[in-house]
C-alpha cells in the first residue's frame, strides 16, 4: 500500500472509530445537553471520516467507496490509533480519551492546512473549525471533572493513567510518517508532539490532574495491530453490510 494511502487511512479510520464510539452514548449521557454535545462530536467525526475515506478510495484506485472501506475491511486493514478503539467506560474516561485526541487533531489539522496535498488541506480546513469546538468541549469537561469533587477527580485521574500509554503511538514516527513529512504532505511529528504536549499540560494543570509518566508501550493500530476491542466494534458496525452482501441501503 502506498504511503499516502496509508496516511490518509490513518486519519480516516481514527475519526471513524472515534465517531462510532461516541455514537454509543446517544440517549445514555449524564444530561440531555451532553447527549446533544456528544452526538455533535460524533457527527463531525463521521463527516471527516467520510471525506477522508472517499479520498482514500480515489488514491487506491480500485473503485472502493466510503462504505466499501468502512464496512468491508477486516480489522488488520484498519489503521486507526489504538487509543480511539478503547471502550467508552464512564463519561470521565470518554472525555479524557476525547481530550487526548482533540488536542492532537487540533494541531494536526492546523498544520495540514499547509499540506502540499491540496485535498488534505481542504479537508483539514473544514475539520479544523469543528475540532476547535471539540477541544473546547473536552477541555472544559476535563477541568470540571478534574477540579470538581473528590470522586470525579479520582475517576478522571485513573482514566488518564490508563489511557496515557496509548498516546505514545500518536508520535511514534515510522516510514509512512517520514515519507509524508519529506513530501510536505504531513507535518513533522516532533513539532506536533511539543505543541500537543503544551496544550495537554495546560489543561491538566487547570484540572489539578497529574500528567502520567510515559510508558514504553507499543500498540500500533496505525499499522493494523489492534487491541481486542476493535474486532467487536467492527462486528457491530459492519454486521448488516456483511449479512446482506450486495444489498443497497
Amino acid at each position: 500500500m502506498n504511503a499516502r494511502l496509508q496516511y490518509v487511512l490513518r486519519l480516516a479510520d481514527t475519526s471513524l472509530v472515534l465517531g462510532q464510539r461516541l455514537g454509543e452514548w446517544v440517549g445514555h449521557s449524564p444530561a440531555l445537553e451532553e447527549d446533544l454535545g456528544l452526538a455533535n462530536l460524533s457527527l463531525d467525526l463521521i463527516g471527516q471520516a467520510r471525506l477522508l475515506l472517499t479520498y482514500a478510495g480515489e488514491i487506491e484506485g480500485r473503485g472502493r467507496t466510503e462504505d466499501d472501506l468502512a464496512m468491508g475491511r477486516d480489522q488488520s486493514d484498519f489503521l486507526n490509533f489504538a487509543l480511539v478503539e478503547q471502550p467508552n467506560g464512564d463519561f470521565g474516561r470518554t472525555i479524557v480519551r476525547q481530550l487526548l485526541v482533540d488536542a492532537f487533531q487540533l494541531e494536526l489539522y492546523e498544520a495540514l492546512q499547509r499540506s502540499t496535498d491540496s485535498r488534505l488541506a481542504e479537508i483539514a480546513a473544514k475539520a479544523l473549525k469543528e475540532t476547535r469546538y471539540h477541544f473546547r468541549y473536552s477541555a472544559s469537561w476535563v477541568v470540571r471533572l478534574g477540579d470538581g469533587t473528590e470522586e470525579s477527580h479520582r475517576r478522571v485521574q485513573s482514566a488518564l493513567d490508563e489511557l496515557w500509554r496509548f498516546t505514545r503511538e500518536l508520535f511514534a514516527e515510522d516510514e509512512v510518517d517520514r515519507e509524508m513529512a519529506a513530501a510536505g504532505v504531513a507535518p513533522a511529528l516532533a513539532d506536533l508532539q511539543s505543541r500537543w504536549s503544551a496544550r495537554i499540560d495546560a489543561v491538566l494543570r487547570e484540572a489539578t490532574l497529574k500528567r502520567p509518566a510515559d510508558v514504553p508501550y507499543s500498540w500500533f493500530g496505525k499499522c493494523g495491530e489492534h487491541t481486542e476491542h476493535l474486532g467487536y466494534l467492527l462486528a457491530e458496525m459492519q454486521f448488516l453490510h456483511r449479512a446482506y452482501p450486495g444489498a443497497s441501503w
Binding site: V26, G27, E151, A247
Partner: protein, 332 residues
C-alpha cells in the same frame, strides 16, 4: 423570570374573591377565543396550567424516550450516510425534548421535577416508544409512520393558545419534516431491494401500523380531556379526525411502496372520500400505557441508569462552578 414570577402570582390568586375569579376566567376565555396568545406571567386558570404542564411534559418525555428505540441502531446503521442521518435525527429528538421541557418550565415546574416523574413511572409518555426495534427496517418504519403521525398531531399545536408551547412546536415542526422523509426513503430503498430487504420492510410495517394509529389516543367518545382542551385551544382537532387524516395520507404511500397495510378491512370509500379501516385493539393500548408493553421496563431502566450513572458528573460540574464563584469573590 419564568419560574420566579409565578410564586407571587400564586399567592395573589389565593386572595382573589369568587366574583373576581369568575371575571378573570371570563376575560381569559375571551382572550383565547380571540386567538390571543397566553404568555408565562399572564393570569390563567389553575386547571389550564396543570393541563399544559401534563401535556407538555408528556410530550417532552416522549421525545427523550423516543431517542432509545432508534438510538439502538446508530452503531449498526448499514452505511455511513445512514449513520450520520440517524445520529442527527436522534439528536434532534433530544433537542425537541429540551425545547418542550423549557416551555413547561415557564409554567412553574422544574426540569428535575419532571425527570423524577418520568423515572418514577408517575408521568406518561407516548405508548409508541414501548415497542422494540429488532431490525433496520424498524428505523424506516418509525420515521415514516411514527414521525408522520407525530407531525400530524403537532402542526395544529403550532397555533395553540400558550405562547411558549406554540413557539416550541413551530421549531419542532420545521425540524421534523426531514425525519419523516428519511424514514420513507429507508422504506423505499428496502422495498426496492433484495427479497430479504422487502420482507424486512413488510415485517416492520406489520408491527408498527396499529401502534401508530393508537398514537392518536382513544376514540373521541372515550377521551376525557378533549372538550376542555379544545375550548382552551390547546388541542385543535379531535383524536379521530387526526387518525382518519393519517390513514388517508399514509395508505396511498404504502401502495406506492408496494407494501401491504396489515388491515384486511382497509378500503377506500368513494362516497365519503376517506379510507375506512378496521377496529383498533384498545386492550393492547391500555396494557402498554399501564406499563406492560414489550419495552416499557427497558426504556425506563435505560433512562434511570443514565441518570444514576451520570450523577457524579452533574455533581462535579456543580462543585466546580461553586469553586469558581468562590475564587472569583475572594479575588474581588
Amino acid at each position: 423570570m419564568y419560574t420566579q414570577g409565578l410564586d407571587s402570582l400564586g399567592k395573589d390568586a389565593l386572595h382573589v374573591a369568587k366574583a373576581d375569579a369568575a371575571a378573570l376566567e371570563a376575560r381569559f376565555q375571551a382572550r383565547v377565543d380571540a386567538e390571543e396568545k397566553i404568555e408565562p406571567k399572564d393570569w390563567m386558570p389553575d386547571a389550564y396550567r396543570h393541563t399544559l404542564i401534563r401535556q407538555i411534559s408528556q410530550h417532552a418525555h416522549s421525545e427523550i424516550v423516543g431517542m432509545l428505540p432508534e438510538g439502538n441502531w446508530i452503531t449498526r446503521a448499514p452505511s455511513l450516510r445512514r449513520k450520520a442521518v440517524l445520529i442527527a435525527k436522534v439528536q434532534d429528538e433530544g433537542g425537541h425534548g429540551m425545547y418542550l421541557y423549557s416551555a413547561a418550565e415557564t409554567l412553574g415546574i422544574s426540569r428535575d421535577q419532571m425527570m423524577a416523574q418520568l423515572l418514577s413511572g408517575a408521568a406518561k409518555y407516548s405508548s409508541i416508544f414501548n415497542y422494540p426495534t429488532p431490525t433496520w427496517a424498524d428505523v424506516g418504519a418509525i420515521g415514516w409512520l411514527v414521525d408522520g403521525a407525530a407531525i400530524m398531531n403537532q402542526i395544529p399545536i403550532c397555533r395553540c393558545s400558550y405562547g411558549p408551547y406554540a413557539r416550541a412546536m413551530v421549531r419542532i415542526c420545521r425540524e421534523e419534516s426531514f425525519h419523516q422523509r428519511q424514514g420513507f426513503e429507508i422504506m423505499m430503498t428496502l422495498a426496492r431491494g433484495t427479497p430479504e430487504q422487502r420482507r424486512m420492510a413488510q415485517d416492520a410495517l406489520n408491527r408498527w401500523w396499529w401502534p401508530s394509529l393508537m398514537m392518536f389516543g382513544p376514540n373521541d367518545a372515550e377521551s376525557k380531556h378533549t372538550a376542555q382542551s379544545m375550548r382552551w385551544k390547546i388541542k385543535r382537532f379531535s383524536n379521530d379526525e387526526l387518525r382518519q387524516h393519517f390513514v388517508d395520507v399514509t395508505a396511498p404511500q404504502a401502495d406506492f411502496l408496494g407494501l401491504k397495510v396489515p388491515d384486511p378491512d382497509l378500503r377506500w370509500d368513494e362516497a365519503t372520500q376517506h379510507y375506512t379501516f378496521g377496529p383498533i385493539d384498545w386492550t393492547e393500548f391500555q396494557n402498554v400505557l399501564k406499563g406492560n408493553g414489550p419495552c416499557n421496563r427497558e426504556r425506563l431502566d435505560a433512562r434511570r441508569r443514565a441518570c444514576e450513572e451520570g450523577q457524579w458528573v452533574r455533581e462535579a460540574a456543580t462543585a466546580y462552578a461553586e469553586k469558581q464563584r468562590q475564587r472569583a469573590s475572594q479575588a474581588a
